[in-house]
């Protein structure tokens, strides 16, 4: 059995750690990780809960394939009610931490309450203990990891933690593990900070034993790895260029949101692209990119490891930033770069390092800076308020804001509110490029129409990782559809959303879905886990998870009105590129989507749908 069948419940208020059996009835219908942890969450937490209150809970969950030889089987997710959105939050991370938790014998950890003073959790196989973290409070994630290894005299500890952003309540603070992997979005790190929980240090030596049919499992995982290796995206594009393989592609299709979505193409895209990361710098003759890196169990290895130019203004005399660390992924390069009109690759890399170091989401941060720069151009925000001149294109403003947000200084706390609250505060809410309070990622729905619907209906606010129709609309995976067309996109979005929920619940990385369909996942799950993991049932599991999340959000006060896009995308047409003259055609897709989903016109699952899915 690929589940460890054991969960750890940590009551931070009482200071207790207790072991419970995993609810196997739920595991057989919600699988694991995202699905299963969300089931626990919705059963235990009132939808009306205030996200930063002790009544909110925070769950770190692995999937059945986490810690196995299934390719990319090292994922974990953090589930809570998000402070940025007020919706269900579920952020997924790679690195090595998730597998280590599983190796220690736990499927998930549920945190409840709030510690009276800063604590961290130390897990060594069956033993879990809370420790005083006063001496770690105020430290960055980069300082916390070596500090905990030293305290416990264990160089093999794996650590997930929050930096100062999570302590300071930056509403899009992230949980960082292994120095530069992140459960990045929706502010799960802020919730961790609100609980006075600084870090979780894990050492697991028990391993994952007893997959259902080891022989069949090895055969299935080997076949699936061959599919990844033979695919142009997962076998060549991602290992060589990372997700940055998309920068020039998306710019060419005219779906590169630029300067707070004023434009859909960025003239500086080539300067911040994968190719630019590979090219020798003029200053020192070295490339920004040092190497690629895999997460636990991953045979794709799309991760970027970069080194900064030591003469760049951001790091002169700051040797602590001269080592290799997590480089730019496409979303970060876009949000820190195109969204602000900044084309300085080193500045973006530095800002990305800072986001990792102090734990905050570069997408929401970068997109919020985009709104700040627009407000500055309009004269609404001034140099005196901001502490710096901040026109579009200013790398110095970007890196200054990154430092302020990390440390909670100057204008940083305002930027830490996210663009929805910040633009409302300064009287221009229409300039917030968000859905349900969460900033958009790197695909303009005027140029990729299906993504408009995917954003509008995403259960965690605007997000590319809930239904990535870019795969179909741009890359032709699994079939090519026209990115400028709205017809047929309702069914496409639903199919992507439901399938993604399964990938996120299995313990594997959604990037495998460039090459794998659920038909590749099913045999791996079936060999690993007791229960029915046929293709048909997996589709049902994905749809069930999606609707469970939706019901939570509806009960938390979201309505059909919130399945919307900002006015700019609905009324201001794309100025250039293939999508020139187009706005996002959300109204043409949304009613059909509700019908496809079996929801009423208010976006609520009908009684028949609830019954069909066994909710």
């Amino acid at each position: 059995m690929a589940w460890q069948r054991k969960i750890l419940r940590v009551d931070l208020t009482a200071g207790t750690c207790t072991s419970e059996p995993l609810n196997m009835e739920w595991a057989k219908i919600y699988l694991g990780q995202r699905g299963l942890a969300t089931k626990y969450f919705v059963e235990e937490v009132a939808p009306s809960v205030e996200p930063m209150s002790p009544a909110n809970k925070l769950i770190f969950a692995t999937g059945p394939l986490t810690g196995t030889m299934a390719s990319t089987g090292g994922r974990y997710s953090v589930i809570t009610k998000g402070p940025l959105t007020g919706a269900i939050a579920c952020s997924n991370s790679g690195g090595y931490w998730g597998a280590e938790l599983k190796m220690a014998g736990w499927d998930m950890v549920i945190f409840e309450g709030r510690a009276a003073s800063p604590v961290y959790l130390h897990i060594e196989n069956d033993t879990a203990t809370l420790h005083d973290a006063s001496a770690l409070w105020g430290k960055t994630t980069w300082d916390v990891e070596p500090a905990l290894r030293k305290i416990h005299q264990d160089s093999q500890l794996k650590i997930s933690s929050i930096g100062r952003a999570g302590e300071n309540g930056v509403l899009y603070a992230a949980v960082i593990n292994d120095l530069h992997r992140a459960a990045g979005r929706s502010g799960v790190g802020a919730v961790m900070g609100s609980k006075n929980l600084k870090a979780i240090a894990v050492r697991g030596t028990k391993g994952v034993a007893g997959v259902k049919d080891p022989k069949a499992f090895m055969k299935a995982t080997q076949a699936a790895k061959a599919v990844l290796a033979g695919n142009a995206v997962t076998g060549e594009g991602l290992p060589k260029f990372g997700t940055q393989v998309l920068m020039n592609v998306i710019n060419e299709v005219g779906a590169m949101p630029t300067r707070n979505f004023r434009d859909v193409q960025f003239e500086g895209a080539k300067d911040i692209s994968a190719e630019a990361m590979h090219a020798p710098r003029e200053s020192d003759g070295k490339a920004n990119l040092v190497t690629n890196q895999a997460c636990f169990g991953c045979t794709i290895a799309c991760g970027r490891i970069s080194k900064l130019d030591q003469t760049h203004y951001t790091v002169v005399n700051k040797p602590e930033y001269w080592g290799a660390s997590g480089g730019l992924e496409y979303e970060a390069a876009w949000a820190l770069g195109s969204a602000n009109g900044v084309n300085d690759l080193e500045a973006l890399t530095y800002a990305n390092f800072v986001c990792n170091e102090d734990g905050f989401d570069p997408i929401s941060f970068g997109a919020t800076v985009g709104a700040v720069m627009e407000l500055y151009q309009m004269g609404v925000l001034t140099k005196e308020q901001l502490g710096i001149e901040a026109p579009f294109g200013s790398a110095k403003a970007l890196t200054y804001f990154a430092e302020c947000t990390a440390k909670g200084e100057g204008f940083g706390p305002e930027i830490g509110l996210g663009s929805k609250r910040l633009t409302a505060k300064y009287g221009h809410p229409d300039l917030s490029m968000t859905v349900k309070g969460q900033e958009f990622p790197a695909y303009d729905p005027r140029g990729i129409q299906g993504m408009g619907l995917a954003y509008a209906t995403s259960n965690r606010g605007a997000c590319h990782l809930r239904g990535y129709t870019v795969a179909s609309e741009v890359l032709g995976i699994p079939i090519k559809t026209d990115p400028l067309e709205t017809e047929g996109k309702a069914g496409l979005v639903k199919a992507f959303q439901d399938a993604t929920a399964v990938f996120d619940s299995a313990g594997i990385c959604v990037f495998t879905s460039f090459a794998w369909t659920l038909a590749d996942v099913a045999p791996q799950l079936d060999a690993a886990c007791e229960g029915d993991w046929s293709l048909d049932n997996l589709n049902m599991v994905g749809e069930r998870i999606w609707n469970m999340e939706r019901q939570f959000n509806n009960a938390a006060g979201f309505t059909a009105k919130d399945d919307n896009l900002p006015k700019r995308l609905l009324t201001e047409a794309a100025k250039t590129g293939p999508a020139k003259g187009l706005v996002a055609g959300l109204d043409k897709m949304l009613p059909e989507y509700y019908a496809e989903r079996g929801w009423d016109t208010e976006g609520r699952p009908t009684a028949a749908t609830v019954e069909r899915l066994g909710l």
């Binding site: 030889m69 034993a209 080891p214 991953c298 045979t299």
Partner: protein, 160 residues
Amino acid sequence: MMKSLHIEAAKCTGCLQCEMACSFENYGTFNPAKSRIKVFEFHETGTKVPYTCTQCSEAWCLKACPVDAITKDKSTGAMMVNEATCVGCKVCTIACPFGTINYVADTGKVQKCDLCEGSPACADACPTGAITFIDADSTGIDRMRAWAAKLENQTAGHAD
């Protein structure tokens, strides 16, 4: 032909498939903590290096063992631990300069790489060719070929 494990660290991505394959082969579980091959990540430089026993011709572990529990397998060249004889004294772990033989508290014996009877699971599992199992007398052949290719280019240049 005698074969040996050959490691090209520059190709390693740090995925740990080798560690899981090793533990699965020897213990039937996915458990890097029990792996006899370990991948080390040097994050300051971004380098990942797999490391395991290189099967010394004159093995320190074998010579140090007071009960002759370590013997050389003639067909594979691997130094083998006979668990029935091993008394768990750990002297071999002190003698080995490379740290590749280690004590296992669960069994009270030591463990080391035994080349999986001539078909190492780590090499099979490695997705990038960072770990291969090749002719022990020619582990440098690919590097020689790479340098030869440079000469070939030079020569071709002169011919033009």
